[in-house]
Symmetry: C2
Subunit: 195 residues, 2 copies
């Protein structure tokens, strides 16, 4: 169970992490299970923990005044979940995060992560690289969301995240892409007919 986190850190930190350093890292995380549909975080709460997903699938979304849901993030095994803003600032979150499948997580709190960043350079390194990737992915998504039409966005999504396509239903993916389920359905029809 912890091996998964070990492998993960090794695959991202250039130097890798020693067994003894990993013993330290290990001690900072706690284990948690979530049932399908169970909340990890609800709007208005402060996000106390960041989670590393061992297995399962989760979604992060906001709800507007009319009750419409907007998915901002989809995550599966070996991804992190949590609301960065609430986590770092301790402000109430505007997002909901829930399990889309039964999910197993490793949790770490904000004060503990700050401590760990000091104590373990390999973890700090991995963490820095994750932040970088996160920023890059966000800008990319923003760019396509501004510059590309719905069809291009969908195709880009499918080719970038084939794993996610298999794990979430269409209406969730539609919301992630910023279109309605109806529009996505029509886009796919066109695509299927043209071949």
């Amino acid at each position: 169970m912890m091996e998964q986190l070990f492998d993960y850190i090794n695959s991202y930190s250039p130097g890798g992490i020693s067994k003894s350093d990993f013993e330290i890292v290990k001690s900072y995380f706690t284990h948690k299970r979530l049932r399908k549909r169970q909340y990890f975080l609800q709007e208005g709460e402060i996000c106390k923990y960041f989670g590393f997903i061992l297995s399962g699938a989760m979604r992060q979304y906001t709800v507007d005044d009319k009750g419409k849901e907007y998915v901002v993030q989809l995550s599966i095994e070996n991804w992190w979940v949590g609301d960065r803003e609430s986590y770092t600032t301790s402000n109430p979150s505007i997002y909901n995060i829930d399990a889309w499948e039964d999910t197993e997580l490793l949790l770490i709190s904000r004060p503990r992560v700050l401590e760990l960043l000091q104590r373990c350079p390999a973890f700090a390194e991995t963490s820095r690289i994750m932040d970088e990737r996160n920023s890059i992915a966000s800008l990319k998504r923003l760019t396509t969301s501004i510059s590309a039409g719905a069809e291009k966005r969908y195709l880009a999504f499918v080719s970038s995240y084939p794993d996610l396509v298999k794990r979430f239903p269409q209406h969730i993916i539609a919301s992630y892409l910023g279109v309605t389920k109806d529009t996505l359905s029509r886009i796919r029809r066109q695509f299927l007919n043209n071949e």
Copy 2:
């Protein structure tokens, strides 16, 4: 000139930075001037340097097949510029970055920044916090771009970045918001009439 960077790091790193540590930091940066309209980075190039803006204003944008420009970032004094993706991966950039006003920058290359992160904890700390803020801001922007209409986006922008509103013309801001200059003009008219 360097004091500005010193103040900047002090304002973000919780512990601050010592004068002697800052001497190290200083030695890693070089100085550069750009004229209005001059490129900092052009599509297809690799982004060799990240820049800290001492004075001036810059914009980052992509151009689609039809020649339409999409602004993805606007930056002024005390912000960083550069294409993170190209910078970290050494792939050719899909973005253009140019000066909107005469601009002064402090530059640092990728290998040098990695070295500096090792050598100076206060710099690493500031850098981590910047990455965090960056991620948070990106997600926020993405959220509003998906969930809010053009008018809300504009109002949110004006209240979040009053400085940018003063420094860039409307058609640039429109592009940043993901609408055309025409639409933004109409939005503002409505807003002015309703009071």
